[in-house]
Amino acid sequence: MSQAHSALAEQFRDLEQQREASSLGMWVFLVTEIMFFGGLFMVYTVARAMHPAGFAQASRHLDVTLGGTNTAVLICSSLTMALAVYASQVGRRRMLAGFLALTIALGCVFLVIKAIEYADKFHHHLVPGSAFSFAAPEARPAELFFSLYFAMTGLHALHMIIGVGVVAVLLVKAWRGRYTIEYHTPVEISGLYWHFVDIIWIFLFPLLYLIGLKR
């Protein structure tokens, strides 16, 4: 065996095998995430098929501007993440740290906007539970809609929070020069995760925000 890299775990033959395993592992994990969110999408689909009008009504109470802004923010964060991966591939430490920091910043912007939206829903008694209130005819479907809204965006936000945490760790390590041209797998696979969370939002946005817009 040639000179073992300090990052090589002992069960692997070489860094290449390790990289392959990590990347496949992350992809497989993302598939489980698809199915995890998939359960919620399934519930959404059925509930909406049963209450089309109520869902449209309830959806009008979401702020499309905020939702749209957040979509843009997330897409941009995906860009910075992709560029961070690029930086790690070509071994530019400062650039890598910079883009990771930008990604964290955009992630936080997203979370702040989300928090503003939640506060607004809370304020307008749109949080399901005993305080929920909604104009009479569609009250039940609307409560269902908001249950799903909070479940789906909440789970998504949780993933965002985890993502921000992961990227923060990357940032520290990148700053210390842990990642080099030979070894930057963690940056790559965290990138995969970040983009995946973006993709989830890409579906959440039209499903939750846009269904009641048409007149």
Partner: protein, 320 residues
Amino acid sequence: MADRVDALFFFLLGVSLFISLLILVLIIAFCIKYRRRAPNEIGAPIGGSIKLETFWMVVPLLLSMVMFGWGASLYMSMQHPPPQAMEIYVVGKQWMWKLQHPEGQMEINELHVPVGRDVKLTMTSEDVIHDFFVPAFRIKADVLPARYTTIWFRPTKAGRYHLFCSQYCGTNHAVMGGWVTVMEPAEFEAWLAGGPVEGSLAEAGERLFQQLACNNCHASSGKGRGPSLVGLHGSTVRLQGGQTVIADDDYLRESILNPRAKIVAGYGPDMPVFQGLVSEEQVLQLIAYIKSLAPPQAAPGQPGTAAESKRPAGEAKKLP
């Protein structure tokens, strides 16, 4: 129905016995015939045979398609009650069955039916999911809250048969049962006449219709705030937005309890919500009444309507 189910059962039993005996005998035979005689003996180098393998993929496939087809056709006839069936309404709740005859008799955990008549059960639950199961008739269907499910059977022999709840529904699930008593037709008539009855189901529904002031809006002329309900059951209703629905029991139920879910074309969302104001039994009575409002010549082939008009109490009514 019971003998048709049994026939399928015995067919499957036959096939299964044949297959499992075949496997059993062959395995035992191989194990004995080819048992190891010397410690280092090695089996013949046979790697497989496409022909044989195809054979034992195709044969089970064909056999199983027969099972599927047979099972499916049986299921379909279980799903479609014959048009002339007498209709009984069932409400399940933790942990009892309430059954209502069209003539108005109410029974609890007991059902009396005559030999030889088709009986259709329209069922709903007040709380959790239950399941109406009469093993002797080989019928079973889940009873869901907020929805109607139906099953039907035709008893062929007088006697008393177990009625079970067969969907787990909480503490007393095991005792949520009773008896189905099948009587000779004459006896059944006597039984019907015997009980204390305050009029048929439809009549009870009619009283409710007035008590709840439904008639204020729903006049048979169709000139009220709401549409006329005459001949509604089984017809196709055009909704606001251009969609259509068949006015079956589930639609009527929804129209009463949660009228704004589907608004009839040409009317406003003016009907009050009756959810919580009427019990499941009362809804069934209202539905029975609306069903009895058949136009003078009932549309042929509509389940329910034809049977309804046979009953003395179920003559087509004019609205007040």
